[in-house]
Symmetry: C2
């Protein structure tokens, strides 16, 4: 049933979900594609096309039922469950993630933190104790980790990825500025701040020069 769904569709689905949750908080019970589009900076047709890839959730003439659609989107995105996350690299990025409340609120539970540095291993982060990267396989399997966040220097990232996947991790979020190779079927997302800054730099520079 489920054919290939584009990346941009998924990104927008996240957006719609956030919009719906906000609308529910404001006690709205129904919503139209037009309203959803305004919230997420897209068009009504786009919203309907996106949703239609997963089913028919609306009522003609009326719109979508906020609560119902919220549930459907949660199920589609797979966030109607909790995810177990291990963090490799207890530096600043790691700390930022650790303290980011939305993370837990949205269903992602940090169940392990690892680092190589001797002065970090053994320390406590909240209820977690930082463990040595050597123990990665152990943490992934014993803690039943689904997702691994890589926040280590570029040179160490590939090895961490290989071992995490081998040990059973099912998806990877990579902050290291390097192109990781992972087996077919293991989703990988990169977050590269320098790249984002360069995109801004380009946009400004080319606007300056283009007539």
């Amino acid at each position: 049933m489920t054919h290939k769904v584009s990346d941009s569709t998924i990104r927008r689905m996240s957006h719609y979900l956030r919009a719906l949750e906000e609308m529910d908080r404001q006690e709205e019970t129904t919503v139209s594609s037009t309203q959803l589009a305004e919230w997420g900076g897209t068009t009504a047709a786009q919203v309907r096309k996106d949703l239609s890839q997963f089913g028919s959730f609306g009522k003609r003439g009326l719109g979508y039922e906020v609560r119902g659609l919220t549930e459907r989107l949660r199920a589609i995105l797979g966030v109607d469950r909790r995810w177990r996350v291990a963090l490799v690299g207890a530096g600043r990025i790691g700390a930022a993630l650790f303290e980011y409340p939305n993370f837990r609120l949205r269903g992602f539970d940090l169940v392990g933190v690892l680092d190589v540095a001797d002065d970090k291993v053994g320390r406590s982060w909240g209820e977690l104790t930082i463990r040595h990267v050597e123990e990665l396989e152990d943490v992934v399997s014993s803690e039943d980790v689904d997702l691994v966040i890589i926040a280590v220097p570029a040179a160490a990232a590939q090895e961490v990825a290989d071992r995490a996947v081998e040990a059973g991790a099912r998806g990877i979020l990579n902050f290291a500025p390097t192109q990781l190779r992972v087996p077919e079927g293991v989703p990988l997302t990169d977050v590269n701040l320098v790249m984002e800054m360069e995109a801004l730099s380009f946009a400004i520079t080319s606007a300056e020069q283009g007539s």
Copy 2:
């Protein structure tokens, strides 16, 4: 001359630039589109198409000269200069950026940090003193800020964006999980960690369910 260039092209250009710098470090003097493609996980034709949008930089039968192409890419991306960056929100994300060495290495200088919290205002971060968000306009204009990074709660983000742009900021990197509205011509990039995690969640969930 410069027609519309796609976002994905720019992302790949960043990649090529990083690859070239690495190759230069390894004392390679020329490089083919095939090699560049391998490095960035794309195809040779794609590399050539991307580059050809900005000019003809290669020699047929030979490839591209590493140093020369590096310079051209730097100029295209606008990173042959330094950028002045202000950071609004001195929380964990802010701290992570502040300590991220690649940031400065790649040409982005943090020249101002602001926050609302009284217990943060006045503190020192390296050579910078955290200033109150009230002073945003002042910082942007007196420090000649190009880019503003927004790392404040979602509810405060739009106001910060409006004031930053009004005061002369030319681009915005937004970490707040909300859809900002900025005037036409002001580039905006969003970094939304929950969204990235949800994309992983979807990929895993749909793979499980699809046949």
